[in-house]
């Protein structure tokens, strides 16, 4: 391993080193401000280290990792998401848990797992990254120790997620038995050269098992059952992290697996993903209609959004456009989810015990905290795909990718799903704009601190969503150049 190899994986090294230092610091002396400073420093350095790493050409660093601009772009995105989550967690954790220092350690570890996934071109590194990310997340979900809901959510997530990981592992095991390789690209080569007489049904079973396991992590229908409960029970900053970073990382590795392994050649597989996509779009949106808790609404909406994203895997003819669409969508979705859950974190930061994200907590929010309400307003418009927001360009991309492959069924579901989606997004917006019923609820239960960091985060996120929606060309050009 040469110095330039190390440079190419610098973000991973920085994050790992940061985690180690933080662990030592906590064991020597508990000091929350210092922990937070170190966490922010680690994330910032890791994000900055993406700049020198970016200068390197694409290279294979050990058989496990492939350092290319794609990996580095998303590592940087995840580190920035880590910074935002840390800032959101600061107030939140002060009121929950006696010793919140380890929370930040877990956050770094989970981000490290996500970054490993972006580099991953090998089953071993896929599992390593996925488990590192998930195991840290179980603990993060359960961290607030004074209430029952997080604990329930964490147990549910732990059991189901472990089962999903095992399924994925089994699927990869079967693939290995057939092809004798764990590398994605080699897998593609071996699959292509398999003798025609080979029984492919086991192969299909294997790939579908992998898809099921990863589909669980992406909360695609019918593997979505855990999503609303975990989203609701988890602390809001963690939910934001779970909804944005962990989803994006898993989807990215899924995309790589499909492209490197050239899995597009299996019609059955494509049909399976199309089915998952249609079910997720329709069921996710439909179930979101029934909810009155904002976190549950957003949970089901994320199910639907993963369905929209999965359309990409069906676009076979126009792979470059499809990958571009997927990357743009992932970036837009990460920013938007962070914004939506960020607002909920800020709202619930001062609720002493259980979080209450029922719709009526934000009744009339717009008239009392215009900036915060504006953040949720923009985030919801972006999720709904209204022009001038990041979500619209993302949806536009999906449209153009799907149109280029003439996938009418998927497009139809996309339109129906989006139509249903408007209703529940508007319901939240309408509640925020309401000025007639007594908006007392918010004054009693929450006293939102309008500190500098709150304003800073709100402005950054609103700005990011609008810039991605109004002037997407620079990012599009960049994405085109790295694909």
């Amino acid at each position: 391993m040469t110095a330039s190899d190390l440079q190419a994986v610098l973000p991973l090294i920085v994050l790992a080193a940061g985690a180690t230092i933080l662990m030592l610091q906590i064991s020597l002396r508990r000091d929350l401000p210092l922990t937070i400073t170190l966490t922010l420093l680690t994330f910032a350095l890791a994000a900055l280290s993406c700049i020198p790493a970016h200068d390197m050409t694409t290279r294979q660093v050990t058989p496990l990792l492939q350092a290319d601009t794609l990996a580095i772009l998303f590592s940087a995105l995840f580190c920035i998401a880590g910074i935002i989550t840390t800032l959101l967690s600061m107030d939140y954790m002060k009121h929950r848990g006696d010793e919140p220092e380890e929370y930040f350690l877990l956050l770094i570890l989970s981000t490290l797992g996500a970054c490993i996934l972006t580099y991953s071109v090998h089953v071993a590194s896929l599992l390593l990254g996925m488990e590192l990310m998930s195991v840290a997340l179980y603990a993060l979900v359960a961290y607030p120790d004074r209430s029952i809901l997080p604990l329930e959510a964490a147990s549910k997530y732990l059991v189901l997620s472990a089962a999903a990981s095992a399924t994925t592992l089994f699927g990869f095991g079967l693939l290995y038995a057939y092809t004798g390789t764990l590398e994605f690209s080699e897998l593609g080569n071996r699959l292509a050269t398999l003798p025609a007489a080979t029984n492919t049904s086991i192969l299909v079973v294997a790939i579908v098992m992998c898809l099921g396991g990863l589909g669980f992590k992406l909360s695609l229908v019918p593997f979505h059952m855990w999503t609303p409960d975990v989203y609701q029970g988890a602390p809001s900053p963690v939910t934001g992290f779970l909804a944005s970073v962990s989803k994006a990382a898993i989807f990215l590795v899924l995309l790589r697996w499909f492209i490197e392994g050239n899995l597009f050649q299996y019609a059955v597989l494509l049909e399976a993903t199309a089915l998952l996509a249609i079910l997720s779009m329709l069921v996710g949106n439909f179930l979101a209609l029934q909810q009155s808790n904002i976190k549950r609404i957003l949970a089901y909406s994320s199910v639907a959004h993963m369905g929209y994203l999965l359309i990409i895997l069906n676009v076979n003819d126009n792979r470059a456009l499809a990958s571009e669409a997927a990357l743009y969508y992932l970036i837009a979705y990460t920013v938007t989810s962070l914004a939506a859950f960020g607002l909920l974190s800020l709202l619930s930061a001062h609720q002493a015990t259980d979080e209450n994200a029922e719709l009526n907590t934000i009744n009339g929010l717009f008239w009392q905290h215009p900036l915060l309400a504006g953040l949720l307003f923009i985030a919801l418009l972006s999720l709904a795909g209204i022009p001038l927001t990041a979500g619209f360009i993302a949806k536009f991309y999906i449209f153009s990718a799907a149109v280029s492959g003439y996938h009418w069924l998927l497009l139809g579901s996309l339109i129906i799903g989006s139509g249903i989606g408007i209703y529940y997004y508007l319901r939240v917006i309408f509640t925020m704009l309401n000025h007639e019923d007594s908006p007392a609820a918010i004054n009693e239960t929450t006293a939102i601190q309008n500190g500098v960091s709150v304003k800073f985060i709100s402005f950054i996120l609103i700005g990011a969503i609008l810039i991605l929606g109004i002037a997407p060309q620079p990012l599009i050009e960049y994405l085109q150049s790295i694909l």
Partner: protein
């Protein structure tokens, strides 16, 4: 550039009006008035700077330089998306209508809004900016963007300042337009993709797409996507159900904008995009479209007669009148199209006035129920006279703009399909019934309202706005030639490019 400045002026005016609320609660409406007046003056100044001959030249729909003003800027080159604005006689007319009705909307809500007046005026101005954008955008992506973006401030107007059932009404309005808009987006994407297949690059420009030669089995469905989006907005029967709810619940200014100009974006879209982009498919589809139009004329009139809510009655009368637009456009001959355009202007003014009256009545009586009105003429003679004027305008009294519009449409339509004309002509009779019924129930008859004597008649401000609208309608009715001259070249340009006729199967129809 001047067109972009027009939009920016309205957007910026909105921001200033919003923030001005901090200093003085009366300031926003003055700023709003000033911003629209400034935009109007600026626009008229720009237009007067053009060469007089250029107005009589027929613009070639595929040649941007032959339009009155054309402005473009690269925006998202990845998809060939440009910030492309262009104006011909049609958009010129509709922008003047938009800005004038904008002024009237501000005047009509002068002392109605007490909650957050700054934000109210901001939303009003942003809606106007969106509508002006719709009338100017000639890049289909940009057009779609304005189409969607104008919804949000309109949604806010209804959802925040609306009446008792605003949640339902605003939601219905948004979902109807949004879902049909997504179908249009899909059509736009398929069209642009066809362009990409043929030319090897994306373009959303109207001029490029219009000259695109492609043989596609999807074109009928694409046409349908556009048609649905525009017909929902128009609104054409049977997609009109959002309109009575949205109108009834919207604040006065919201209703004025909705009836006066937002509905016209649907008609404009049909004439500008749907028919020229898919001429053959449209002409095949014309019998269905015209049937929907004729059904709308009759159905809207019958339902209008059945209403006891003042605003709902006017809303259903809009459905009836917009049916004429659908008929006129799909008859696709010069007279009928001119009639449809006249109808857009005349209906915009007369309905805006009726909604303003409805708002004024609700402000005074706190009800829209006509069973609780009656005999109001005695207490408010000026208001009664105005109501009578606009009611007879709406029923198509010769000498006023609406008559010219409906007459031209029917004459043009007769050449194409006499039976359809006969059905549509029923609209003139039924129109008389519900319009006069409206006057009888509210201003004539017995005194029903208790505080009859304390009611305040129209003041100077209201009378000025009413008088302005009356002048417009009389002018359109007596001397419509300038308006016809303005749009004739546009109609000629389209007609010479697509010399087609609606295709009716079977001679009986």
């Amino acid at each position: 550039m001047s067109l972009a400045i027009l939009i920016i002026l309205l957007l910026a005016g909105g921001v200033v009006a919003w923030q001005a609320e901090r200093f003085n609660r009366d300031l926003p409406r003055w700023i709003s008035l000033a911003a629209i007046a400034l935009a109007l003056l600026y626009f008229l100044n720009t237009v007067s700077g053009l060469h007089p001959d250029s107005f009589s030249l027929s613009p070639n729909p595929t040649e941007a330089s032959s339009w009155l003003i054309h402005y473009q800027l690269d925006w998202i080159p990845r998809f060939g998306i440009r910030f492309e604005l262009a104006m011909d006689g049609l958009s010129l007319l509709l922008i003047i209508l938009t800005l004038v009705l904008g002024l009237i909307a501000v005047a009509s809500s002068w002392d109605e809004i007490s909650f957050k007046p700054g934000l109210f005026q901001a939303n009003l101005l942003w809606t106007l900016a969106g509508v002006v954008g719709v009338f100017l955008a000639l890049d289909l992506f940009l057009f779609f963007l304005f189409w969607e973006v104008m919804l949000i401030p309109m949604y806010c107007l209804i959802a925040i300042w609306g009446h008792e059932d605003k949640a339902y009404a605003s939601m219905k309005f948004f979902i109807f337009t949004q879902v049909s808009g997504l179908l249009m987006l899909l059509s736009i994407m398929v069209l642009a993709w066809q362009g990409n297949v043929v030319n090897g690059q994306y373009s959303f420009s109207y001029f490029d797409l219009l000259s695109l030669q492609f043989e596609s089995r999807y074109s009928f469905w694409m046409m349908l996507g556009f048609f649905l989006a525009f017909t929902v907005k128009l609104p054409g029967f049977p997609f009109h159900t959002w309109l009575p709810d949205a109108h009834t619940q919207a604040p006065t200014a919201g209703s004025v904008l909705l009836a006066g100009i937002l509905l016209k974006t649907g008609a404009y879209g049909l004439l500008r995009f749907c028919i020229p982009l898919f001429p053959e498919e449209s002409m095949q589809f014309a019998p269905i479209a015209m049937t929907l139009g004729a059904a709308g004329v009759v159905y809207g009139a019958i339902l209008a007669f059945a209403q006891i809510d003042f605003k709902r009655l006017v809303a259903y009368s809009s459905v009836s009148h917009m049916g004429f637009v659908l008929l006129g456009l799909y008859a696709w001959n010069s007279l009928a199209i001119q009639g449809a355009i006249m109808q857009m202007v005349a209906h915009g003014v007369s309905t805006a006035a009726l909604f303003m009256l409805a708002g004024a009545l609700q402000h005074r009586l706190h009800t829209r129920d006509m069973n609780q009105m009656g005999g109001l003429w005695q207490a408010m003679p000026r208001m009664g006279a105005c109501a009578l004027f606009f009611a007879v305008a709406s029923l198509g009294l010769p000498g006023l703009g609406n008559f010219v519009a409906e007459f031209l449409t029917l004459v043009g339509l007769f050449k194409v399909n006499p039976w359809m004309t006969a059905i549509a002509a029923l609209g003139l009779i039924t129109g008389a019934i519900y319009s006069l019924w409206l006057i009888q129930k509210t201003f004539q008859g017995e005194h029903l309202h208790q505080q009859q004597n304390t009611l305040k008649d129209f003041g100077q401000r209201e009378m000025i706005t009413m008088a302005a609208m009356m002048v417009v309608l009389i002018w359109l009715g007596l001397y419509p030639q300038p308006v016809l001259d303005l749009t004739q070249p546009v109609v000629d340009g389209l007609q010479s490019m697509f010399p087609l006729e609606p295709i009716f199967h079977g001679a009986s129809l």
